[in-house]
């Protein structure tokens, strides 16, 4: 059996890799009754050669599919090797990888064979076996199959830590073009069901501590970037909508990797838009942790993100009238708005200034990127001398002083702030 399982794993891991989510955090499942595993540590056990975190065993149950979505490698019309795991094979792989500390758990998705419910049933069965037969308390992320019945989705929530349905194409017109057999409503329906269940469980838990877990790490989704010529404004507006409307824990952005000669899609050989993808993640962070509104980042006047500078700096340069910020007096929320000051540094500033006023030297030691922040702040012994400069001049100063970090070249991934 050794050789066949090796081949299956190669095929079904390869087909699953375009789903960029690999998070194993957000759940806090304890190891109960001396069983196996727990969650909450959110560990990356290794990184791929493209620098992505490997935390979970991310595989498809099968890459057979009755649909023909143009952007997907598993689409029916694609001439590739097909394979399918048995339920037991997935269980064995998960347990054995987990016991060797290779992974935090399982991320299971699947092509759709026969119909949505038939597929979903098998995904649920695997999660159930892991939890009940192996007392496995590690992380389980199940993909929800669009149009699967509410009963199955409910059962999935009882065993999984996270459930996700990928929107993939950010705009309705794009979806019509690339996946005409699919309809948005089939994706929205389970999302709505999950949202309601998650809220309900939270309420019940307040009253009855024994209320069973229901997908404690919530739900997430993924958007493919650069497949259909959408603007950043469209993407960020869509993400914002799903965060608010469906309480999404995360929206993932996946730069489209050309896998098809289909003329509706970017040609094979087109570069993966990793720089743009990175700017979108930065924008996402600004919305989730920095108190930014979507329309502060992109709007009708600025529908596209700058690729040469990060969105926070971009916003600051468009809003010079909001500066300078006083490091020793202003609120945390305002300090967070300063380019070059991240969440960690902002917290340290608030903690340290209680012991005395801070100067530039202190800020540097705390970890503030002075070469960016200095245009936007005042602090002890430092007056704002750039405030009357034009923002394009400040931008050129900053780009000049930190070339290597800002200029986007090819595939280079950028840091968050």
């Amino acid at each position: 059996m050794g050789e066949r399982i090796k081949e299956k794993l190669e095929i079904l891991a390869d087909a699953a890799k375009y789903d960029v989510s690999c998070s194993s955090s957000g759940s806090n499942r304890k190891n109960k009754e001396k069983g196996l595993g727990n969650t909450g540590a959110g560990i990356c056990h290794t990184y791929t050669e493209d620098g992505r975190c490997v935390s979970l065993l991310k595989i498809l149950l099968t890459n057979h599919c009755i649909y023909d979505c143009a952007y997907c490698v598993s689409r029916k019309s694609n001439d590739i090797k097909r394979a399918a795991f048995t339920v037991q094979e997935v269980v064995d792989l998960t347990i054995n990888f987990y016991r060797r500390n290779y992974i935090e758990g399982l991320f299971l998705s699947s092509g759709i064979f026969k119909n949505a419910d038939y597929t979903m049933e098998r995904l649920v069965l695997i999660a159930k076996k892991l939890r009940q037969e192996h007392n496995f308390n590690g992380y389980i992320h199940l993909k929800t199959i669009p149009a699967a019945s509410p009963e199955l989705i409910h059962e999935a929530g009882l065993y999984a830590d996270r459930l996700s349905i990928n929107l993939e194409i950010p705009t309705d017109s794009g979806l019509k073009l690339l996946a005409p057999e699919k309809n948005r409503e089939d994706m929205i329906q389970p999302m709505t069901y999950l949202k309601d269940q998650l809220i309900k469980t939270k309420e019940e838990k307040k009253i009855f501590k024994s209320t069973p877990h229901f997908a404690p790490a919530g739900q997430s989704t993924q958007l493919i970037i650069g497949a259909t010529g959408e603007t950043d404004k469209q993407i960020i507006t869509a993400a914002n909508y799903f965060y608010r409307k469906f309480n999404m824990k995360r929206v993932y952005y996946s730069g489209y990797v050309p896998i098809s000669y289909d003329s509706r899609l970017p040609a094979i050989g087109t570069e993966v838009p990793t720089a743009r993808e990175n700017r979108l993640y930065q924008s996402d962070w600004l919305m989730r942790f920095y108190g930014f509104q979507a329309n502060e980042i992109v709007n009708d006047t600025h529908p596209l993100l700058d690729l040469d500078i990060d969105p926070k700096l971009s916003w600051a340069l468009r809003n010079m009238d909001r500066f300078p910020i006083d490091i020793n007096k202003d609120d945390y929320q305002l300090i967070l708005r300063v380019p070059g000051i991240g969440v960690g540094s902002a917290q340290k500033i608030i903690a340290a200034r209680r012991f005395g006023p801070l100067n530039l030297d202190h800020l540097k030691k705390i970890g503030v990127a002075i070469n960016r922040a200095k245009y936007f702040i005042v602090c002890k012994g430092f007056m704002q001398i750039y405030a009357d400069k034009r923002s394009d001049i400040i931008k050129s100063y900053i780009l000049h002083s930190s070339k290597s970090k800002y200029l986007v070249t090819g595939n280079q991934q950028l840091q968050l702030f």
Partner: protein, 259 residues
């Protein structure tokens, strides 16, 4: 006030005793090293501290009262870094804590605090790496064994994590560099050491492997290769996350090299 070069036995209790005696005898330490590093003969300006558990305990309680369990843990983690400057830094920060009226643990504008926070951060990163990069191999007798070689002495800091996670399997994590390990027998964890003649290497473990061990190690390697997206290859980022010095213990990299 006497200015002296101090020596202690290198243990954590010894370091806490040192802090006690600095107050007791009004000492200003010029340097602080472990006794093993001492030259022959005793100079006028040198002084050796002998570990006393009761003094160590009093310092521990005093620190916890002053800066809380978290503040105390930071000092311990700094000590575990084994950096040459760590011991003296622990003493200086502790002295600063005791001298100040307020809890000054978060005064990031103070140089020693800042220096300590940096070390604490590095130690914490190494601890995190060991949670991530520790790889067990299953032996035929059912024991899961992992060899590690962390930059800092972080094994004590990952014990709880592995105990909680692998509660139903027997395991041993062995620090090859420091020649000691933690053995969990299904009930409790104990420290094991190894004498100088014995070797602990992958080569010796291979003969003891469970029949399925090679299969799963191989499957993991294949999995690692298959999830890579070659169009996105970015080795710089890869190396930043998985520095080369850890590769020898990772199956998916060059696992199995002689050590």
């Amino acid at each position: 006030m006497q200015h002296v070069d101090l020596y202690y036995d290198g243990s954590w209790a010894g370091l806490l005793t040192t802090i006690f005696e600095i107050f007791e005898f009004k000492i200003v330490p010029l340097s602080l090293r472990s006794t093993g590093e001492r030259q022959q003969g005793m100079f006028q300006t040198e002084r050796e501290v002998f570990t006393q558990q009761d003094k160590a305990d009093r310092v521990m309680h005093g620190l916890i009262a002053k800066v809380g369990k978290k503040g105390y843990a930071e000092l311990w983690h700094t000590y575990l870094s084994e950096l040459p400057e760590a011991a003296l830094l622990v003493v200086r920060v502790a002295t600063y804590y005791f001298h100040e009226e307020k809890n000054v643990r978060l005064n990031f504008a103070q140089d020693h605090i800042l220096q300590m926070k940096k070390i604490v951060k590095s130690v914490s990163r190494e601890r995190h790496r060991m949670k991530a990069f520790t790889r067990f191999q299953l032996l035929a007798d059912g024991l899961y064994v992992a060899l590690i070689e962390p930059d800092f002495n972080v094994l004590p800091l990952v014990q709880q994590h592995f105990q909680d996670r692998y509660a139903d399997q027997r395991w041993l994590i062995f620090d090859v560099k420091r020649r000691y390990g933690l053995l969990y027998d299904g009930q409790s964890t104990s420290e094991v050491t190894m004498d100088h003649t014995a070797t602990m290497a992958h080569a010796t473990l291979i003969d003891l492997h469970d029949a399925q061990e090679e299969l799963y190690a191989d499957l993991w390697k294949r999995y690692f290769k298959s999830v890579n997206i070659k169009e996105r290859r970015n080795m710089k980022l890869h190396l930043q996350h998985v520095p080369r010095r850890y590769w020898r213990y990772l199956h998916e990299k060059s696992f199995g090299m002689e050590i």
